[in-house]
């Protein structure tokens, strides 16, 4: 098991390194200037480029960059929030996006599971139909539409929540964006849980368990839900990354200083900010790879057979 885990981690780190190099190269061939300026002379811009070491061979630049990154230094922006270290700007954005996204995931997963289980237990009845309609709606309606609806209703018509995100009242002003972001997760989880559970209910081992006289909560939790969880964990992983890395439109509309908004600013601002695009690219990739790794390892916990087959592969 340990060897398997180490191998997985090694692969993940290698993937991340390759992605970083590709990003490092690609961002330099994108159209747009890292020092967008209509007032600086060509010499001034050349000096700025030289200061940032942008004229060195790309491999030299990459090695230097990786050296700095490993020490936790992502450099400074070239055009975006210039002056402030990227670390400072990024940490605020991460904290905002992660907390709001995190709340959305927890809420979405819990309610989604609950809805899915309810629907599966009431298969073919009214509650099942209700949950199905709800999930379809939730998947179809984009989160920002729901956000605008909530913002309009609960900040404008009934002015209870703040109209814009207010970092000084974090929890209070995170309600509307978290709720609207959770809708998609909620619906997806509900749909998958219901379908998986219905399938598992029909399987031989559940029938056997029922025949042995098992029923009720114990049956559902121990046999049905646990087996239904495997595919759900697979769906949940990319959802988690999506939500943690910020929902761009929601952040923009609700005025949240988060990662999604930062990414757009870095690419579509006045210029193209190499260092921000890279730092955010590394963050996105690391999260995705990291969560996939966790999912792989979780499979082993949920279903020992996966662990066994992985071992077999090694042999």
């Amino acid at each position: 098991m340990l060897k398997y885990v180490l191998k997985r981690i090694g692969m993940a780190l290698l993937t991340l390194l390759i992605i970083t190099f590709l990003l490092f190269f690609l961002v330099r061939v994108m159209p747009g200037n890292p020092f967008p300026s209509e007032r600086m002379s060509a010499e001034q811009i050349a000096n700025k480029r030289a200061e940032m070491g942008l004229d060195d061979p790309i491999l030299t630049q990459f090695v230097r960059y990786m050296g700095n990154v490993l020490q936790g230094d992502f450099g400074k922006g070239t055009s975006l929030y210039n002056g402030a270290p990227i670390k400072t700007v990024l940490s605020t954005a991460i904290s905002n996006s992660f907390r709001i996204g995190g709340a959305a995931i927890v809420l979405g997963t819990l309610v989604g599971l609950l809805l899915g289980i309810t629907a599966a237990l009431n298969k073919g009845k009214f509650l099942d139909g209700f949950c199905t309609v709800f999930s379809i709606l939730g998947v179809c309606v984009p989160s920002y539409v729901f956000l605008i609806f909530l913002q309009y209703t609960f900040s404008f018509k009934i002015p209870f929540f703040p109209y814009f995100f207010d970092p000084t009242r974090f929890a209070f002003s995170a309600v509307i964006p978290s709720l609207s972001l959770s809708l998609f997760t909620m619906s997806t989880i509900a749909r998958f849980t219901r379908n998986e559970m219905v399938e598992v209910f029909d399987s031989d081992y559940v029938r056997l368990a029922e025949a042995k006289g098992m029923y009720g909560r114990k049956l559902v939790l121990k046999h049905v839900l646990r087996n239904a969880l495997i595919p759900i964990v697979t769906v949940l992983a990319p959802l988690v990354v999506d939500l943690l890395t910020g929902a761009l439109v929601v952040e923009k509309i609700y005025g949240i200083n988060g990662i999604g908004k930062l990414m757009v600013d870095a690419i579509a601002g006045e210029g193209i900010d190499y260092n921000y695009v890279l730092a955010l690219g590394i963050l996105y990739s690391a999260l995705y790879i990291g969560i996939m790794l966790v999912v792989d390892l979780l499979y082993g916990v949920l279903d020992p057979r996966i662990r066994v087959s992985a071992k077999g592969e090694e042999a």
Binding site: P36, E38, R39, S41, Y81, P85, A268
Partner: protein, 549 residues
């Protein structure tokens, strides 16, 4: 028991007093269209940043309601007889850490601007401010200590210029010339100046209260130690970055914001709405949209746009009234001069440099017949019957830009049969990149005034200027601009003014650019809010005199 009850009652009353006192704080809720990029005067490049910096820091001079320069930290100044040495006498003012604002703070900040050679360092060089030795420091890396600025004592700041600059005092309200306390600056970790309220010293009407780089909300609160504190009536300003104008309008309606900018197509709706039409205020945004034509051989079918008649044909085919009335719709002004109106007035006559929009009607206007005549001449001169050009524009520079581009295409193609314009949208970053690398035919672009003198526009079209995107070159023009900057006209204000007009005439005669419209902002201001001063140049909004009922 009774005693306890009384005490409780008193407590509750006290608490409610405290609550109502908080509620009565008069913070103005103001919309920002984009994030504040930096509070460091060396790094800030956008209007939003300049506005917040100016809330918190006073320079030697400040803007009055009409945009004229009036004393701020400088109580008065003397000018030497030859017009090249300014001696500013500073008043007693304090930084927010209690230190006195001294001439050294200015000396330090100005030298730093020259040394770092950032975006706005050019305001010190011989194209604008003409501070002694600035060119050598900015462009050749000379010792910053050779800059012509000197703190004679704590209260006297002397600036030596290469040549007299008539509008020099009005430069002093621009943030590039603001002071920074050296001791405080040096006590900070490198790169952290201006990144939080703790790392930003203020001497202005407000102090920074809440800010982190990249934030969508920030606030400033009244500075009790401000030298002119009695004048400031607001308790503070709460800024909110709002991404879309639809959202801005709703936020305004909820009362979340007191001052918002709405888009052109919302203006018509707002005018019909009784509750909103009262609150609508159109102010000049300063910058002018225009068409730039690349005249080099490698573009526009081997340099076809180097032909002046072809450019004149295009500029006369565009219906600018139609553009502002039906597409921009926010009160922007159709513009027929190379220097837009509203920002540069003569200091002797007080007249706006571009008040007369009919001055160049011979060369620019909406006249399809004349356009066709120019077009026929151009065709004969070039020996070609049909043209196909690509026009680039930014798709992230405002809702109206794509519509304006489309309207220009239609106007030009209708008036000039045989000329085809293909539209190519891209991000602003890409558009600038293409223009700076001379890789375009026609570009829909804009320029905002940095200082209150026509030179902020006319300086662009001299040979080899980096903003001369068309690569137009005219020796007579270059000489005129030189004479107005460092030569014959610098001491004779009216002669310089006339020479500037002459230079502008050359630009218009040859349609070096096709001016389109001068942008306005359609603002909604909550009733009861008064005294916010709007300027098309330098600082777009000033709140020192603002009040809330």
């Amino acid at each position: 028991m009774k005693k306890l009850f009384c005490m409780l009652l008193a407590l509750v009353m006290l608490a409610s007093c405290a609550v109502s006192a908080v509620a009565e704080e008069k913070y103005l809720g103001v919309m920002l269209s984009t994030n504040v990029m930096s509070l460091d005067t060396n790094l800030a490049t956008d209007g939003e940043s300049f506005e917040v910096i100016a809330d918190c820091i006073d320079g030697l001079m400040q803007m009055d309601a009409d945009g004229a320069a009036i004393p701020a930290i400088a109580e008065s100044y003397d000018l030497s007889d030859d017009g090249t040495v300014y001696t500013f006498h500073l008043r007693d003012a304090k930084w927010s850490n209690g230190a006195a604002v001294t001439a050294k703070d200015f000396e330090f900040a100005w030298k730093r601007i020259a040394k770092e050679a950032g975006e706005y360092a050019y305001l010190l060089d011989t194209s604008v401010g003409c501070v002694k030795n600035a060119d050598a420091i900015i462009y050749e890396g000379a010792d910053p200590d050779t800059l012509g600025v000197k703190a004679i004592d704590d209260k006297t700041f002397e600036v030596t210029l290469e040549v007299p600059v008539s509008f020099f005092p009005s430069l002093m309200y621009f943030p590039t010339f603001y002071p920074i306390n050296e001791e405080f600056y040096n006590s900070l970790e490198e790169g952290t100046y201006g990144t939080s309220p703790e790392t930003f010293l203020c001497n202005g009407a407000f102090v920074l209260e809440d800010y982190t780089p990249g934030t969508a909300t920030l606030s400033v609160k009244k500075n009790a130690d401000y030298w002119d504190a009695d004048r400031v009536k607001l308790d503070g300003i709460k800024y909110q970055v709002v991404g879309s104008s639809d959202n801005a309008l709703t936020a305004y309606r909820t009362g979340a914001l007191d001052l918002v900018t709405i888009s052109g197509n919302q203006v018509a709706a707002a005018q019909k709405d009784a509750s909103l039409s009262q609150s609508l205020k159109v102010t000049g945004a300063g910058y002018m949209w225009y068409l730039s034509f690349s005249q080099t051989e490698k573009n526009a079918q081997n340099g076809k746009l180097a032909n002046a008649n072809l450019r004149l044909a295009i500029t006369n085919a565009i219906d600018r009234d139609n553009l502002v009335d039906n597409y921009v719709m926010d009160g922007s002004l159709a513009t027929y001069t190379a220097v837009p109106p509203q920002f540069a007035a003569s200091s002797t006559t007080g007249e706006d440099f571009s008040a007369d929009q009919d001055a160049f009607l011979d060369y620019v206007g909406y006249d399809p017949e004349k356009a066709l005549e120019y077009f026929e001449t151009a065709k004969a001169e070039l020996g070609v019957d049909s043209f196909e050009f690509t026009m680039i524009y930014g798709n992230n520079e405002g809702d109206e830009v794509a519509k304006v581009a489309q309207a220009i295409k239609e106007d030009v193609e209708d008036a000039l049969p045989g000329l085809v314009i293909n539209l190519q949208p891209m991000t602003k970053a890409e558009r600038l990149d293409k223009m700076q690398n001379d890789n375009y035919d026609v570009a829909l672009t804009r320029w905002g005034p940095d200082y209150a003198d026509p030179m902020t526009y006319l300086g662009m079209w001299i040979t080899d200027n980096s903003n001369n995107y068309g690569f137009w070159s005219n020796a007579e023009y270059d000489q005129l601009i030189k004479d107005c900057t460092i030569g014959a006209y610098i001491t004779d204000y009216d002669a310089r003014w006339a020479a500037l007009f002459e230079a502008e005439t050359l630009v218009m005669q040859e349609a070096v650019i096709a001016p389109l419209y001068t942008k306005a902002n359609a603002n909604l201001i909550t009733s009861g809010v008064a005294g916010v001063e709007f300027h098309p140049v330098a600082l777009n909004r000033v709140y020192k005199n603002a009040t809330i009922e």
